[in-house]
């Protein structure tokens, strides 16, 4: 007992305790830093733009007159682009993941492909813009239309989706597929009836998250030459369009000409953030609902 008390009075012990609290504060401050910046950002955007959001702003057409300008064109443009991105990424992304995870043999070729897909996920988005410009806009001669923008963004998020879908498939316990094979099911029957149903919640979560990444992307669209001009609402795959991030981009640039454009940009940011927030919430809800089903 005496020893223990001696320990408590020991200065070295106090130094250790102090060191512990210092490190704890450092880690806490790091966390706080990000949070504070985020709060400032949102507060500033809300302060600047919230009063500009009303029904007319959401449903209105674009105008050079700041008071009359609306973002319906940009919203529709974003929706149209997503209508291209969703099926393309889901079909190609999940297909690739199924092939790599369930059909291809483990080996050097497979790990070479997987490494490259991971690397592609890190390629700057502007490079995808250049790819889209070369292939879809010029080579295939689509022009800067919905289809070109959608395919470019699809390529951009495809690696992310493939990796997350692979992880989802890998997480399905092997004893489930064993049971299926054990009853004489073919590989495809096992994939379709056992593995995919078990993996679909995680695949959906991954695809919603990559979709929200695509919605916010600006750089590739600027390279494609997507305008934010007074153009008609897009009505099909081969119509020119603008998108929410492009609208923000142009209004921010032009704020030097008309000061109110900065408020319009802030208001558009709020709308975009809301959409992303809703998408991410849906992803979280799906994930929580289907967690630990097996």
């Amino acid at each position: 007992m005496e020893n223990l008390e001696a320990l408590h009075e020991n200065n070295k012990m106090n130094a250790r305790v102090r060191k512990n609290s210092i490190w704890k504060s450092i880690f806490f401050l790091s966390t706080l830093f990000g949070l504070v910046v985020l709060v400032i950002l949102i507060a500033r955007v809300l302060f600047q733009g919230a009063s500009w959001i009303d029904l007319d702003f959401i449903t209105g057409r674009l105008s050079t007159n700041a008071d009359r300008a609306g973002i319906m064109g940009a919203i529709l443009g974003t929706v149209w682009v997503m209508l291209v991105v969703i099926p393309v990424t889901l079909i190609i992304g999940v297909g690739t993941a199924i092939y790599l995870e369930l059909y291809s043999k483990k080996g050097t070729i497979r790990s070479f492909i997987e490494t490259n897909i991971s690397n592609l996920a890190g390629v700057p988005s502007i490079v995808y813009g250049l790819l889209g410009l070369t292939v879809f806009v010029r080579l295939m001669d689509f022009g800067n239309v919905v289809l070109a923008g959608g395919l470019t963004l699809a390529l951009l998020v495809l690696p992310i989706l493939i990796v997350s879908a692979q992880e989802a498939l890998r997480a399905v316990p092997g004893h489930l597929s064993e049971a299926s094979y054990g009853m004489g099911a073919t590989k495809w029957q096992t994939i379709r009836r056992i593995i995919l149903p078990a993996a679909i919640p995680s695949i959906l979560t991954g695809s919603i998250l990559s979709l929200s990444r695509a919605i916010g992307e600006t750089a590739p669209l600027t390279v494609l030459g997507i305008p934010a001009l007074l153009i008609p609402f897009p009505n099909g795959l081969f119509d020119t369009f603008t998108a929410l991030p492009m609208q923000i981009y142009y209004w921010t640039i032009d704020a030097s000409l008309v000061a109110e454009y900065a408020n319009l940009a802030a208001a558009t940011i709020i709308v975009l953030l809301l959409i992303l927030f809703i998408l991410n919430s849906v992803a979280i809800i799906i994930r929580n609902k289907y967690q630990q089903r097996y």
Binding site: S180, Y181, G182, M183, G184, I194, R293
Partner: protein
């Protein structure tokens, strides 16, 4: 689907579904393993296995961990191939057809040879869907027929009374022992001739174990059962013949009473008297 389409079919197949209660002298050989060797890459896991397994009998395979008993039973329906890098030599004749032959259709084989696994592994579906899974993948769509098969299979696995009012509930809500009997029902639903069981009670409590053992004795009337078990008492209680394996080899194979009361090999005696393993 039908093995009769296979040109290697022998005449034995013609009386395929006769479940006549032959006397021991008349029992047909279901599995005839000859000089089977198996490697996991470089690891020689099964060495010169020669075994004959007979119809409507329970054959137990015992031996210490790593002796190859699970590997062997998984070779009987070629599930062992799911492990990359497996190679084999020798032959296993299932009713006259060498199942290790490349021309063997594994889906067909696994429809005739059902398997129950160590850990209860129901699908994350309803009890009904679990049992109906096999018939469905083999093309049965009629609801009435599926209903019949599900009931018959659940009755066959002695679990119908416990689950008949909750067929649409998720199988994960059942206890481990009930899950394992649903898995047995799922296996019966494809109407196999042989049921392979890989330590089916090792994850279960004693009462569930007892129920499964009683079930196995009943199933013997209509099915050939090959069971891997860690539990020697279990082998003694339920099996007609017992195989003792050690280090990838068959040390002894004889009538269960014979093997446990009067083992011929010193190693068998040491194992069953608990000197190792």
């Amino acid at each position: 689907m039908n093995m009769a389409t296979d040109n290697k079919v022998q005449i034995e197949v013609s009386n395929d579904h006769t479940t006549t209660e032959n006397n021991t002298t008349q029992k047909r050989v279901v599995y005839d393993t000859k000089n089977l060797n198996l490697w996991y890459s470089e690891n020689h896991a099964l060495k010169d296995i020669n075994l004959e397994m007979k119809e409507n009998e329970v054959t137990a395979i015992i031996g210490p961990s790593g002796c190859g008993k699970s590997t062997y039973i998984k070779t009987l329906n070629r599930m062992v191939e799911l492990v990359p890098g497996v190679s084999t030599t020798g032959s296993i004749a299932y009713k006259g057809n060498n199942i290790l032959d490349k021309s063997m259709n594994v889906e067909d084989l696994r429809t005739r040879v059902g398997m129950v696994f160590q850990k209860p592994n129901p699908f994350p579906k309803s009890i009904y869907e679990n049992v109906a899974y096999g018939p469905k993948i083999h093309g049965i769509k009629k609801k009435a027929l599926l209903d019949d098969i599900v009931e018959k299979s659940l009755r066959g696995a002695a679990i119908w009374d416990e689950v008949k009012d909750r067929l649409n509930e998720n199988a994960y809500g059942l206890s481990g022992g009930q899950q394992q009997r649903v898995c047995i029902a799922r296996c019966l639903a494809i109407e196999p001739d042989v049921i392979l069981m890989d330590e089916p009670t090792s994850a279960l409590d004693p009462i569930s174990t007892l129920k499964i053992e009683e079930l196995i004795k009943e199933l013997k009337q209509n099915y050939t059962i090959i069971i891997v078990t860690h539990n020697m008492q279990q082998a003694a209680r339920i099996s007609d013949r017992t195989v003792f394996m050690l280090n990838g080899e068959v040390v002894e194979f004889s009538e269960t009473d014979q093997l446990f009361s009067n083992p011929k090999d010193k190693r068998t005696e040491d194992y069953i008297t608990g000197r190792f393993g």
